[in-house]
Symmetry: C2
Subunit: 264 residues, 2 copies
């Protein structure tokens, strides 16, 4: 089913996903609604992970935490089922990816705690609406990402460097980009740095650690935001016995509207 012919409400789209009638990446699906990153961890490390997110709100903006064993995100998406309503999941054991699945029915356990985290789609939509063009949107590529020399604030067993995403922004639009993204602290918020990759420990702006390189046009400068890959990278470094995430680009579509996430 193509994106054009999809139904329009998140609940309808989640139902298609649940019944394996839609299993693609979710970019551009249900425009105007908040999409979320997923991280599922066993209860014994959930307090540490919740604390890690509380201490690092820019890379880890919590939208909802679902209590142990429960699978309905009652706050952001009543009626949804976190075990079935994401097109594709990745399963990690002891820090290594062991499987990619389309539902979690066979993997579900009573001690699993699910975390939904804000995603860059929300603030990118706001930038595009504000007439700030984004190379990776226009070309269908992935955003460029790097591990940096910025440490996250550790919590319990979790620590590690912040991952950032970079978007080339024309210097005339940099101030507007700061303003527009600052409104969305629940989706990574304002940039963490403008201008000099070296400051973040990034040696080659043309060689991202994740995603696709973005070329610079005349007058564009690199602008960096905290990235939702951070919590996954940090969590896997501690080699939890089990961790389940969405597959890249295959997000959970909530009932929240982008405007619900606006700070003001």
């Amino acid at each position: 089913m193509s994106t054009q012919t999809l139904p329009k409400t998140p609940a309808e789209i989640r139902k298609l996903i649940r019944h394996n009638q839609f299993n693609s990446v979710t970019g551009g699906v249900a425009p105007g609604y908040v999409q979320a990153n997923l991280a599922i961890l066993p209860r014994d490390v959930a307090f540490d992970f919740l604390l890690f997110c509380q201490r690092n709100p820019r890379p880890c903006p919590l939208l909802e935490v679902i209590e142990p064993g429960q699978f309905e995100p009652k706050i952001t998406s009543p009626g949804a089922d976190i075990r079935t309503d994401i097109p594709r999941y990745r399963v990690f054991r002891d820090g290594q990816m062991v499987d990619e699945v389309t539902d979690l029915k066979d993997l579900w356990r009573e001690d699993l705690v699910s975390f939904l985290l804000g995603c860059s789609f929300t603030f990118e939509s706001a930038m595009v609406d504000a007439n700030i063009p984004l190379y990776h949107w226009e070309t269908g590529k992935n955003v460029a990402m790097w591990r940096t020399n910025i440490p996250t604030t550790p919590a319990g067993i979790f620590s590690g460097p912040m991952v950032v995403s970079m978007r080339p922004i024309h210097q005339e639009k940099v101030v507007r980009a700061v303003q527009v993204t600052s409104r969305f602290p629940g989706a990574h918020g304002a940039p963490v740095h403008i201008g000099d990759p070296q400051t973040l420990g990034i040696q080659d702006i043309n060689k991202p650690h994740y995603g696709d390189a973005a070329p610079f046009s005349e007058g564009q400068v690199p602008v960096f935001w905290a990235c939702g890959v951070t919590p996954q990278a940090v969590a896997l470094q501690s080699k939890p016995s089990l961790m389940i995430t969405h597959a890249p680009g295959h997000m959970f579509i909530t009932d929240m509207r982008d405007t619900d996430l606006a700070a003001l």
Copy 2:
């Protein structure tokens, strides 16, 4: 020692408190620095309480959570000791207050988790700076507070009504009061309601459940904010085996500046 002759930095004032040379209420002390509510709970209920705060950021704006057994608030106030640096503590067992103490040295345990939460001093200072007079500041009284019919979002064992504080604001300054306090989501943020106490289930605006009644001058309307009494009231309702808080008005003085809490 009177407030006037106190040293000016939070670290110096905390040192006096630690050595029992200052044991009064902290309002007006170290102006410009963020003061915090304290809640200490055993680890077995700490995940639920952290989740409760995450789900109810307006009454429970988390500034810092100190990991089990640790007592230094490294993020907001390096070098401080949460067991000694508050002028007065209250000790609750099974939901009942059993003691008021000036330090926690005899009570400290390896499983205790400390939560520091934003306090109304921050947004009240911002209002006073914006030329919005506050009756309880001018008279040295306590702000008026009520339990409401607004439910908090439950988390694990914790649930209950939101407690609000009320300040009479002249109708010409209500919009400015919304703007000024919206900047400080880390200190309860924007009002939860303007104008009609009945909407919140408050029967008599002259009879607060906590604190002192505030009279209304011509043209003033009641404006309500989420209140930091909420987490304490909700936690005690679940009768935890042990809970320790600051005594009313005797806050923890952090190294953060009020402006550090500003969203924008």
